[in-house]
């Protein structure tokens, strides 16, 4: 039975890593992730967490050191955002190819240029293809819970893939929320210590990071792809296990007031909470709207999503990143390709919203729904529209 405290969400993230008894943290500070790593280094300095805190000289080194540490068999954690995530880019692919269960908290922040320290999803959207498990937290409790669960999922021998836990920069990282802190004994019951399947060990020498000739590269990628796809059921299993141990259930797709809804908003991350309030207001006015929240982003939970939107006549898909030159934003592109494969002729509008930390209000949601319904009746498409651009 945990203790309920008011805690800055960044610190809740660090506390999750502490509860997980991580062995190594290799991280480089970048706004708005700084409080996460600062708190971890405090915990280490005071002996509250027995870990090696490696104050690396860049994010590229942070991820490289995480790869080395995880390969040595240590439970490894890091955190970054924006430019830092971009700087790690090259190594992120290698981390998943080497099947290393690194956990990383991404404090979602806009990518330069122009330089912006504020929240959107462009940083993680630029990393869709890294082969990591990726999911989104919507509030402080979720940040703690999902970070903790990430270790269990990553280290499961059926998975052995790194996990990125996304939390919105400033919007979550820098707010104080009520968080129920689990007891260490509860966590230990849920999360045993890391037993690597293979590691750098002079007693059992292996070579990691081989040259992948054309004769093997495709199969190597297939093996990783298979692991990512199969991780879906392990994620479900461990989220269900989390619910049993701690009483909070997480699902790949969350639904809100979808029964009888004609129009469904589709959101990811903390934007979803504003949206839920907007849905309440619109429902009170008699509008048949609801919301679907994507929590699991990679692997994409296709069946869960299709089930969640059943019966709806249109989707208002929110993207918090651009996909310049493409038909629509990253999330909308994903959903539309899924819908096409499933033969669904549901109307989809796509709005790119909340870039660079711009607020998204309840009125915005109401207007997006209105615009969507109007376009649908007029037979017009909204393939991708940047919302609220000052002309």
């Amino acid at each position: 039975m945990g203790q309920r405290v008011g805690l800055e969400v960044s610190l809740a993230c660090s506390e999750a890593a502490k509860l997980a008894n991580v062995d190594v943290i290799a991280a480089y500070p970048i706004t708005p992730q700084t409080h996460i790593v600062e708190h971890l280094s405090e915990l280490v300095a005071d002996g509250d967490l027995d870990a090696e805190f490696v104050p690396v000289e860049s994010e590229h080194t942070a991820m490289s050191a995480c790869v080395g540490s995880s390969a040595a068999g240590a439970r490894t954690f890091t955190s970054t955002a924006s430019q830092g995530l971009a700087l790690m880019h090259e190594i992120l692919f290698i981390a998943s190819a080497l099947r290393l269960p690194i956990v990383m908290a991404v404090a979602n922040r806009s990518l330069s240029g122009p330089i912006s320290i504020w929240n959107d999803h462009s940083d993680i959207m630029a990393e869709r293809d890294i082969g990591w498990i990726q999911y989104f937290a919507e509030n402080g409790q979720e940040v703690l819970d999902l970070t903790l669960a990430a270790f269990k999922i990553a280290e499961d021998k059926r998975v052995l893939l790194p996990v990125a836990v996304n939390l919105d920069g400033f919007v979550l990282t820098h707010v104080i929320e009520p968080i129920e802190m689990p007891d260490q004994s509860e966590v230990d019951a849920y999360l045993p210590s890391f037993e690597p399947q293979q590691k750098l060990d002079i007693a059992h020498p292996i070579s990691m990071g081989m040259v992948g000739m054309p004769e093997v590269y495709t199969e190597a990628k297939k093996a990783c792809l298979d692991a990512l796809e199969k991780s879906y059921s392990v994620i479900r299993e461990h989220w269900d296990g989390f619910a049993k141990q701690f009483g909070r259930q997480y699902k790949p797709i969350e639904s809100y007031k979808t029964e009888g809804a004609d129009v469904l908003f589709v959101t990811m991350g903390s934007l979803g909470e504003t949206c839920m309030t907007a849905v309440d207001e619109m429902r009170a006015q008699g509008l048949k709207v609801g919301q679907v929240r994507i929590r699991m982003w990679r692997p994409f939970p296709a069946d869960d999503f299709m089930a969640a939107i059943k019966g709806a006549k249109s989707l208002v898909v929110m993207d918090r990143a651009l996909q310049p030159g493409a038909v629509s934003g990253p999330v909308a592109t994903e959903l539309k390709s899924l819908l096409y494969d499933k033969g669904q002729s549901i109307f989809v509008s796509n709005f790119v919203i909340g870039l660079g930390g711009r607020d998204v209000t309840r009125a915005d949601f109401a207007n997006m729904a209105k615009k969507t319904m109007e376009a649908q009746s007029a037979g017009k498409e909204i393939a991708c529209e940047m919302w609220g651009v000052k002309e």
Partner: protein
Amino acid sequence: MADSGMQSWKSLALGCAMTEPGSSKRFNTGDWRSRRRPVTDREACIKCGRCYILCPDMCYSADPKAEGFYNWDSFYCKGCGICIVECPKDAISWQEEKEEDKYGPACGS
């Protein structure tokens, strides 16, 4: 270029790791040698061990039957000639070698 994989993706080790240390020993680098091989004159050899320690391909190993002398490994020798240059007594020299005799008996026995 192969248009198909060398092995089933299911048979790959985790992360494509190589779990058999030193498996390169299966590879016949001696095939790279062309028309000549180094041969040691044991009369001239002073057992200094330079050929053993300076061969980039570890082709010299202690002769268990003749202490101090070294056997040469034709399966791996690439024919670089470092041993010939570095032998302080010029005890190693080139000998012509036909392709079909490449893997004949090791020298010096």
